[in-house]
């Protein structure tokens, strides 16, 4: 049996696989070329910067989400955390906290939310879908309670300028993707905790009997996801200059979609960092391009849905052939 997989060296299958390995990147490149030819406004510095800003926040959410999905779980709360933490940081700044303290406290709250998810799953035995669905709705509620439904505006210039500024021609927001992505890559592929995420997602009982701290691994995955989300909350607050708990509606689904387009398996134990990043920017490109082409925004949603099916279907096909 084991020999079956060995000798695929010169067959068409192999070529098919190699092609497919590059497909996501190629798809992104093709989209950019088409849009570049088709519209005058796409390949302008302004638009590209804008696109990178749009994609960046989902990309960071998708990285956190991927850690959770690799363990076989799901985190539906990330969009709500973004909205909630934007309120927190705005409230802290409005009440005279220094910027560094506001940022640290906001991230710490992200840690607490993640630990709570871990607690619910490990201790209370709740399915990840349920516990994160519960925090999704309650965090939006708490955020609205804090502001009494209103929006808190932020008048801290260094903070609000950060998201609008560039560094050597590339938006700061995109630099943040790199700042999160590289440590995330090292963590997932070069640390033992990364290995444990995969092993828990593949078979939690076998991991446990091999001495893996399964509970700790689950706490870790959800905490990382929530911290990524609260970091995005900071970036969003900085970008729009306000704190509002109803922001980032539906971003959890975009993050999950990016992750899945990037090759993460919802059954666990399969995933990478570069995949979800490409997935997020493919989605951002489609939205951006559709806007430029004046496609009805209702149709955009439909197109996104169809594309998710097509891309994931081809990815499944590739896995089955392997």
């Amino acid at each position: 049996m084991s020999l079956e997989t060995k000798e695929t060296g010169t067959t068409p299958k192999r070529r098919f696989n190699v092609l497919f390995g590059l497909t996501l990147f190629a798809l992104l490149a093709v989209l950019w070329c088409i849009l570049g030819f088709w519209t005058e406004s796409f390949m302008t510095g302004n638009n590209i910067s804008n696109l990178l800003r749009q994609g960046s926040m989902i990309a960071i959410l998708a990285i956190g989400q991927t850690f959770v999905i690799i363990t076989g779980g799901i985190d539906l709360s990330v969009g709500a955390i973004v909205g909630f933490t934007s309120v927190i940081v705005a409230w802290l700044l409005a009440n005279g906290f220094p910027l560094w303290a506001a940022i640290l406290i906001t991230l710490a709250i992200g840690v607490c939310i993640g630990l709570f998810h871990g607690f619910g799953i490990v201790r209370l035995g709740l399915p990840p879908f349920i516990i994160t669905l519960a925090t999704l709705t309650s965090l939006r509620g708490i955020g609205l309670l804090i502001t009494n439904g209103a929006t808190i505006s932020i008048d801290n210039d260094p903070f609000t300028e950060f998201s609008r500024n560039d560094f050597i021609g590339i938006p700061n927001l995109f630099w943040m993707v790199i700042a999160v992505g590289i440590p995330a890559y090292i963590f997932l592929h070069h640390s033992r905790w990364g290995r444990y995420l995969f092993s828990v997602g593949s078979n939690a009982e076998a991991s446990r009997l091999s001495g893996v701290n399964v509970k700790g691994t689950i706490y870790l995955a959800y905490t990382l996801s929530a911290v990524c989300a609260s970091f995005v909350g900071l970036l969003l607050a900085s970008r729009i200059g306000i704190g509002n708990a109803t922001q980032a509606e539906g971003w959890e689904l975009q993050a999950i979609a990016s992750s899945v387009i990037g090759g993460t398996s919802l059954f666990g134990a399969v995933g990478s960092i570069h995949g979800p990043l490409l997935g997020a920017f493919i989605l951002a490109t489609i939205n951006n391009g559709a806007n430029l082409l004046n496609v009805n925004s209702f149709w955009q949603r439909v197109i996104t849905g169809v594309l998710i099916i097509v891309i994931v279907y081809f990815d499944q096909l590739r896995r089955r052939r392997r």
Binding site: M1, E7, I186
Partner: protein
């Protein structure tokens, strides 16, 4: 009545059955049947005729081509070349449905039924009795109950399948195939997870099916079953059909030497080592599923735990390993009382566990061989916070070479390996760890003779290095031959302990079965 019932459901007339049995014509014939995967010859051209109404055993090591043959016959995979004749007519057998329509069915080692449905619903799954498009629940339960009663199974048809033991589920799966007009029934190691009693029931059913004209193909690693049941036996080795024998014209030694092409003077390889000091001792240890167990393991000693499935042996060792909490009693390690609250405590002390189920407890099947082999030792493989990839690869390669694990590469998924090689991973992951006490829970279930011998030799190596072993097995010859001290478990209690080979098989069986169930033991 029963026989009529079964043959009636078979979809072919009773007369046909009788004539086929009488004539002993081949019901299924393979001519030059061959299967090649890319680069591998899984089944080399084979000629084989199955006589109608016989029980035909197929033996061979893992990877010898048995599963390939089953898959070809049940239409799961297409053949590369050759012909299959069903009652003299060439057939394509290109889909499982076509095989089932001809009456070719397989009962697999692991039950593939719906655990959340009732026994009756499972028996009729896909062929539900309906009236006006609605299910006739009561009718189906009644009919299912009749089938079960006819077959002599004391099982309620309305019970949930998941409430039955694995052995009982296996019987249901067999009953299901029998009621679906199976003319040709393939059993793939059906007794691997059965108790003795359940196995006896299954054998009775198989004989009954044979009498009603069903042709049986029986695949097993257990020689005594082959000799008990089969009329003829075919031997596969490395994808080649090396021979077919009438069962009364052959013996175990001949079959084994045909299977592995080398004479094994002894499968149960055992070296005796001087016992050192006591490594582990339990005193009156109780927990869920076992009570008041006191045993000890010394350096260089194999302690065997024998009993029926469900006798509490696995629960006992997983409690030692920290998987389940103890309710009372104490565990001593190196003479000192220790608290083992979780698996990591046990591993830190130097206990290694190769659990009962490879699939559920032993392996991350979807992940690479390398990750599985290194899972317990990633801490040692990490410097600062990062993994040393070179150490990771070299450790994996060393285990693959030492244990002769057959795999395409260390990056192949564990699922792509055969059962015996998977078991080597489960064991191999602890060999880098420096454990002092090794617990093997059914280490040779579903493992071929060659790999078995390798595993037993490995035991010797471990003992030579001063380790102790706890060996759990439901296969008596194994623990009987290997254990220096043999403990017999029954219903969660330790009922007897014997030094190496001091009593007979029969005595031990009687103790394991208890007085109430002594009859089947004395019958043999």
């Amino acid at each position: 009545m029963t026989d009529h019932d079964i043959s009636h459901r078979s979809g072919s007339g009773p007369g046909e059955v009788i004539s086929a049995v009488a004539a002993h014509l081949p019901i299924l014939e393979l001519r030059g049947l061959e299967k090649q995967y890319l680069g591998t010859h899984a089944l080399k051209p084979a000629d084989l005729a199955f006589k109608a109404g016989e029980i035909h055993a197929i033996v061979g090591e893992n990877g010898a081509g048995k599963s390939t043959l089953i898959k070809l016959l049940t239409g799961v995979i297409p053949r590369t070349s050759g012909d299959i004749f069903w009652r003299g007519e060439p057939v394509a057998l290109s889909t499982p449905l076509e095989a089932i329509q001809h009456g070719i069915n397989a009962v697999h080692q692991e039950v593939v039924l719906c655990p959340h449905l009732s026994v009756a619903a499972n028996i009729f799954l896909g062929e539900e009795r309906r009236r006006f498009g609605l299910l006739q629940h009561r009718h189906m339960v009644r009919e299912a109950q009749k089938i079960l009663d006819d077959l002599g199974f004391a099982l309620p048809a309305h019970a949930l399948l998941s409430d039955l033991t694995i052995g009982q589920q296996q019987l249901i799966a067999t009953a299901r195939a029998a009621t679906r007009g199976a003319r040709f029934l393939i059993f793939d190691e059906p007794t691997a997870y059965l108790t003795r009693e359940e196995a006896a029931q299954l054998f009775a059913l198989i004989r009954r099916l044979q009498q009603s004209g069903v042709t049986i193909v029986y695949i097993s690693h257990r020689m005594e079953e082959v000799f008990e049941l089969a009329n003829r036996v075919s031997i596969l080795r490395d994808g080649r059909l090396v021979g077919t024998r009438n069962i009364n014209e052959t013996n175990e030694n001949e079959l084994i030497s045909l299977m592995i092409n080398r004479s094994i003077e002894q499968i149960y390889h055992k070296d005796q080592y001087a016992f050192g000091k006591t490594i582990l001792e339990t005193r009156n240890l109780s927990g869920n599923g076992f009570e008041d167990i006191s045993i000890s393991v010394r350096e260089g000693e194999i302690v065997g735990l024998y009993g029926l499935i469900g006798a509490g042996r696995s629960e006992f060792v997983t409690t030692i390993f920290g998987r389940h909490p103890k309710s009372s009693g104490a565990i001593f390690w190196d003479g000192k009382e220790v608290k083992i609250e979780r698996e990591r405590d046990a591993i830190k002390l130097g206990i290694a566990l190769a659990p009962e189920s490879r699939r559920d407890q032993g392996l991350c099947l979807s992940l690479p061989v390398s990750l599985n082999l290194n899972l317990p030792i990633y801490k040692q493989l990490s410097q600062n916070l990062l993994i040393s990839h070179r150490d990771e690869s070299s450790h994996a390669d060393r285990q693959i070479a030492d244990l002769r694990i057959k795999t395409a590469s260390r990056n192949a998924s564990a699922a792509s390996l055969s059962g015996g090689n998977q078991q080597k991973i489960v064991i191999g992951k602890w060999l880098n760890h420096g454990a002092k006490l090794f617990i093997f829970d059914e280490p040779t279930v579903g493992v071929d003779v060659g790999t078995k011998a390798e595993i037993y030799r490995l035991f010797s190596t471990l003992l030579a290095n001063g380790a102790g072993i706890i060996l759990i097995s439901s296969y008596l010859p194994e623990v009987y031959e290997l254990a220096d001290t043999l403990h017999v478990f029954r219903r969660g209690q330790l009922v007897a302990s014997h030094p190496h080979k001091s009593v007979t098989h029969e005595d031990i069986l009687t103790q394991a079965l208890g007085s109430a169930a002594a009859d089947p033991a004395t019958r043999n």
